[in-house]
């Protein structure tokens, strides 16, 4: 997470150039690890992860892309959206359901350059990262029977593991962006003179910077603590619960901080040449991707109902 925090200080999702192959690749067979994970770690193979569909976002149970085993091949049909970076990827992990049975979610490993993986649309987004989030039509793609990660029916568990990793990464990125924006705003406030004084000397600005610092401190403390708990062997369900709360808090805090930084810059904060303007666009997305803030709250509420408030409050 520390690496995520550091590299996310760069705008335009340049952090994505510091590659993190999907964690669930560790659950592949030894052959899959040799053929996919090893070159992915070396940066020679890029692996995308395609889950979302027009009717399935945070509700992964709504996935309709189907896989049917015919002889030695899966035949895959369906539709994906926000299939991020898959337009240039070498491989993609595709969430499917076998035999159109929602009880059999399964991750297949496909080559997005295969005939039948048709990019319908590559919409423009507010963040200009050089990578897309295509809408894809999948028609009769043939996938070798063994090109499957884990077992039939394991797809959601493996996807959940990926969500834990992705949500903590978002939390770390949000903190990194907030730190850079605060450093820039504080430096600007120290040198920008109005009414005979640096604007940082006015309490209105000073209080904004103190709130920004405290927001960063709070989010970073939460993030590092949860990461330490996971490293210490926290079980999968509690990790999922805490990753949601951390993602929600840090992305919202990051947004508050960067918005204040832009405010301190005044009109100069709206100039595209100012990193704070770009950070403002970047951090806004973190409240949305891999589950909106509202979805995180639904998840947190669900964990409280199932496991009790102690999940979040019962620690010392």
């Amino acid at each position: 997470m520390i690496v995520n925090e550091e590299v996310a200080k760069a705008t335009g999702a340049l952090w994505g150039r510091v590659w993190l192959p999907p964690m669930c690749l560790k659950d592949g067979t030894r052959e899959q690890k040799e053929e996919i994970l090893r070159p992915a770690c070396a940066g020679k193979v890029f692996v995308a992860f395609c889950t979302s569909e027009p009717g399935a976002g945070s509700d992964a149970g709504g996935v309709r892309t189907s896989a049917v085993l015919r002889g030695n091949h899966w035949v895959v049909n369906g539709e994906k959206c926000f299939a991020s970076f898959s337009e240039g990827a070498d491989l993609a992990l595709l969430t499917t359901i076998v035999d159109s049975d929602p009880k059999k979610p399964t991750l297949l490993i496909i080559n997005p350059k295969t005939k039948g993986y048709n990019i319908k649309r590559l919409p423009s987004f507010m963040q200009r990262s050089g990578h897309g989030h295509p809408e894809v039509d999948i028609r009769d793609i043939k996938v070798p029977a063994d090109a499957m990660l884990g077992e039939v029916g394991q797809g959601f568990e493996l996807t959940k593991d990926w969500f834990v990793e992705a949500r903590l990464a978002i939390a770390a990125r949000s903190i990194g962006m907030a730190i850079r924006a605060t450093e820039l705003a504080e430096a600007y406030a120290a040198k920008r003179v109005q009414f005979g004084r640096p604007i940082g000397d006015f309490q209105a600005i000073e209080f904004m910077i103190t709130e920004m610092a405290a927001d960063i401190m709070t989010g970073k403390s939460m993030l590092y603590r949860v990461c330490a708990e996971i490293d210490g062997g926290l079980d999968r369900k509690h990790a999922h619960a805490k990753a949601s709360a951390t993602k929600w808090y840090c992305s919202e805090a990051g947004w508050r901080v960067v918005d204040k930084a832009l405010q301190i810059f005044g009109e100069r904060g709206a100039m595209c040449e100012n990193p704070v303007e770009r950070l403002h666009r970047d951090v806004r997305l973190e409240r949305i991707c891999e589950g909106t803030s509202e979805i995180q709250k639904v998840i947190i509420g669900g964990h409280i109902r199932k496991r009790g408030l102690d999940v979040y409050t019962g620690w010392s």
Binding site: M1, I2, V3, E5, E6, V7, A8, K9, A10, T11, G12, L14, W15, R17, V18, W19, L20, P21, M23, L25, K26, K33, L37, R38, A40, C41, A42, G43, S124, R128, S129, G130, V164, E165, L168, V226, C227, I230, D231, C272, E273, P275, R278
Partner: protein, 59 residues
């Protein structure tokens, strides 16, 4: 020293404006960044050393 400290400032910040204007970076720039990632041992920090990662935790 924190892993990744200084990497963004040196290898990513110089390309921010070009990326924002063009929504694209030239392949030689992309390759230079990839090489810098390897030089800093930041590739696949979330995977085991056995498989070519850096063996740091995914969290």
């Amino acid at each position: 020293m924190r892993p990744g400290a200084g990497f963004a400032e040196k290898h990513l910040f110089p390309h921010e404006e070009e990326l924002d204007v063009n929504d694209h970076l030239p392949e030689e720039t992309e390759e230079a960044i990839r090489q810098a990632v390897r030089d800093y041992h930041l590739n696949a920090v979330n995977h085991a050393v056995e498989w070519g990662g850096q063996g740091r935790s995914s969290s």
